[in-house]
């Protein structure tokens, strides 16, 4: 019996099992920090399809349960899949009806295990996740990568945020930031990302979580300044370049 020759790019009946290896619709950086009353998290609302900015109203930060916020960069469909998993998790947690509820530490641990186990099966969820929350007065902020690398810190960022936002946070973050200062600091990071990350869009949401609860702001845009003299005649110093 002759096996059917698979055409280029198509899956033939006798081919080995294939899995998604590349992301399609992706979100860019998420930046988060601990402040006096809880956690502040920011992400823009862009969903890029390769080099096109295809979607401009993607909510990349979602509240999970009573005590946590989850922000994701990377493949949007994998994030949505994760949200479905978490919905089920929170549902079962509520059904116990025992006064107890999953806190940010537990969720971070759960997400780490999910990401690591998917990586073990060579079928990763192509996301970098930021999990922040407050429970019983304890603030918690952690990150998980798509292969399961995880840690917690006072400020975290994914993707380009690691390179551009983290240094700013390392320099200017301190314990007991006020809400206004925290937002200013996050906006400073997001502005730098807007200028320098080509997949960033100028439409972002800032989410806040405290012991009292979660608030996710309405989408808004940052003020930008492009009037630098260096931009006026960009090739002034190097004729012939662009």
């Amino acid at each position: 019996m002759e096996s059917i020759q698979a055409k280029q790019g198509l899956v033939g009946p006798n081919d080995p099992i294939q899995r998604t290896q590349l992301p399609y619709v992706t979100g860019t950086s998420v930046v988060a920090l601990k402040y006096k009353d809880g956690i502040l998290m920011a992400a823009d609302m862009g969903g890029s399809y390769g080099s096109t900015i295809r979607y401009k109203s993607v909510e990349r930060i979602k509240p999970i349960g009573k005590h946590s916020l989850l922000g994701a960069s990377g493949e949007i469909s994998d994030f949505q899949e994760l949200l479905r998993n978490l919905d089920e998790l929170i549902l079962y947690d509520n059904m116990w009806d025992d006064g107890n509820s999953l806190g940010p530490k537990e969720l971070h641990s759960y997400l780490t295990r999910v990401m690591y186990n998917r990586r073990n099966k060579f079928d990763p969820l192509w996301n970098s996740l930021v999990l922040g929350g407050v429970k019983n007065g304890q603030k918690y902020l952690g990150m998980v990568s798509m292969i399961g690398v995880n840690f917690e810190d006072s400020h975290v960022a994914t993707g380009f945020g690691n390179h551009l936002a983290r240094p700013i946070l390392r320099d200017e973050w301190h314990e007991n930031l006020s809400y206004e200062d925290g937002v200013k600091l996050l906006e400073k990071c997001m502005r730098v990302l807007l200028y320098r990350d080509r997949s960033a869009v100028n439409k972002l949401q800032i989410a806040k979580i405290t012991e009292e609860g979660t608030t996710i702001s309405q989408p808004y845009a940052l003020k930008t300044f492009w009037g630098f003299t260096a931009f006026q005649n960009p090739t002034a110093g190097a004729e012939g370049s662009w």
């Binding site: 280029q8 290896q21 780490t112 060579f122 292969i147 399961g148 690398v149 995880n150 810190d153």
Partner: protein, 223 residues
């Protein structure tokens, strides 16, 4: 038909260095606290050392997700052991368990480079050193991780370990005092930090002796 090749790697090296030195009645285990990926720093304050049993401490560097999974597995196995035998696991027992656990994943390894430090059943310091797939050996001192190539020769020179091939077998534990050994470890890391970009920030030192467990920290260069 073109062969499918993976566009992503299931492994990453999050860097870091671990050292352990065995003494007559103590064991010093140490590791830096930097966690990196590529040329970025993820965390400046991440512990690579975990207490597995009362007399057994493990320091691991390499791929952090695998290290975490390994630590969880060993901690769970230790709990079961305690339920079944009503006692703590000894360091040599944990040593064997770690080796078997690593070899179990021989064909999709834990990318984890470990040193186990603790006290054996006679109260003498013991250090076990491992590769990623579980080959292990009891030694008087060892280092693993990104800075190990810088530290190991220095320890060889300073601790002058007798050859393991000698008969009768000679004791590999160092005659140095606990304070001298801790000082030696600090020197090792101060040097490794200068040249290894993945070793830096802070040094965490755990000392196990008959009085129990004692932890101290030392600042390292942060660049």
């Amino acid at each position: 038909m073109t062969k499918q090749h993976p566009a992503w790697s299931p492994y990453d090296n999050n860097g870091g260095t671990c050292v352990a030195i065995a003494g007559a009645d103590y064991c010093v285990t140490a590791a830096d606290t930097r966690m990196s990926t590529g040329y970025s720093i993820l965390s400046r304050d991440y512990s690579k050392i975990i207490k597995l049993a009362d007399k057994c401490v493990m320091a691991s560097s390499g791929f952090q997700a695998d290290v975490k999974a390994l630590q969880k597995l060993l901690a769970a196995r230790h709990l079961i052991y305690q339920h079944q035998h009503n006692k703590q696991m000894s360091c040599p027992a944990m040593g064997q368990l770690l080796s078997n656990t690593l070899y179990y994943k021989r064909f999709f390894p834990y990318y984890s480079f470990n040193v186990l430090g603790g006290l054996d059943n006679e109260g003498k310091g013991c250090v076990y050193t491992y590769d990623a797939v579980g080959s292990y050996e009891r030694v008087g001192y060892s280092s693993q991780g990104s800075g190990s190539t810088l530290i190991m020769p220095f320890l060889d020179n300073q601790l002058k370990s007798p050859s393991p091939l000698l008969l009768p077998a000679q004791d590999a534990v160092t005659p140095l005092s606990e304070a001298e050994a801790v000082d030696l470890v600090k020197t090792c890391f101060a040097s490794a930090t200068e040249r290894d970009i993945y070793t830096a920030n802070k040094l965490e030192i755990v000392v196990l002796n008959k009085d129990g467990i004692h932890r101290e920290y030392m600042e390292l260069r942060k660049d």
